[in-house]
Symmetry: C2
DNA sequence: TACGGTGAGTTGGAAATTCAAACTCAGGAG
DNA sequence: CTCCTGAGTTTGAATTTCCAACTCACCGTA
């Protein structure tokens, strides 16, 4: 049987390899340079170079020069890259809840003044999107 | 420099390897047996066996016997496993938006009757959790 | 002009992982 | 008996990863 076609699998093709999401985390934190990303993630330089190249090719990051004459550049998030924010947020939340031991390394405060506890809700009704609340909709048939 | 300590990285240690999230997807879909998971993900059997073992050890899945005499078992989600639902939902959503080409392989309908468009919101105020709406809170200091 | 330093990678070889296919093992089914 | 199923193991080759060292372009400085 052929493996299931699935957008989650497609997403993982792009950002699912080791180091990719950690590199993106660093860019979110404003560490946009190769050496910063390497140091903060712990990825080896060759693998990191490959991952960054792939993320740029996939349109998740873009390479932006910040100096011409020593030719230097930083990595910046594209719209697609920025859209990964909530994925990373929830992954962190899950790690907080089920993996990390001892004090949490990072806690986000929302602009409302409370510590952020993320919830995933339906944009239409505002109710939480639990596994039980979802059913597969008829797919838009292919030709 | 030591790599950043980070709950997202911890989460990825547990579920970030190739095939792990795809295996969990299958269990969410009710395909709880080894051969089903192998067929629907496309993972090779040895790697899949290793991943399932790790997920069980990490408390994300549990092995539950469904027959004693030919000793057989299925994999079931633990609470930690069920909590990954929203991570997978958002990853799928990102794949839908930025990777998958052509018709979407799967669309969820929420119990309110609308096609699900997931939003991540702050549990306290209900407003969306955007990158700009978050600031790092002072960490609970370690000893 | 020579010397060292920085940013952003490449290169090389050993070590670890993955892949696919074949094999095992326990227990029915015909 | 012999074949089949479920749930993995085993095997050997092909890939990837790891780490350290190297490169290359340029700048500062002495």
């Amino acid at each position: 049987m052929a493996p299931r076609t699935c957008s989650m699998a497609n997403a993982l093709e792009v950002v699912g390899e080791r180091w990719s999401l950690l590199a993106l985390r660093e860019v979110f934190f404003g560490n946009t340079r190769f050496d910063q990303i390497a140091a903060n993630t712990g990825a080896s330089r060759d693998v990191l170079a490959a991952r960054l190249k792939k993320l740029v090719a996939a349109g998740v990051l873009e390479k932006r020069p910040y100096s011409d004459h020593p030719p230097r550049h930083e990595y910046h998030l594209t719209e697609a890259g920025r859209a990964l924010h909530n994925v990373m947020l929830l992954l962190k939340e899950w790690g907080d809840a089920y993996v990390t031991e001892g004090p949490l390394p990072l806690v986000w405060e929302h602009s409302c003044g409370h510590v952020l506890q993320p919830r995933v809700v339906c944009a239409s009704c505002g109710e939480e999107a639990t596994p039980e609340s979802l059913t597969p909709a008829p797919i838009p048939a292919a030709s």
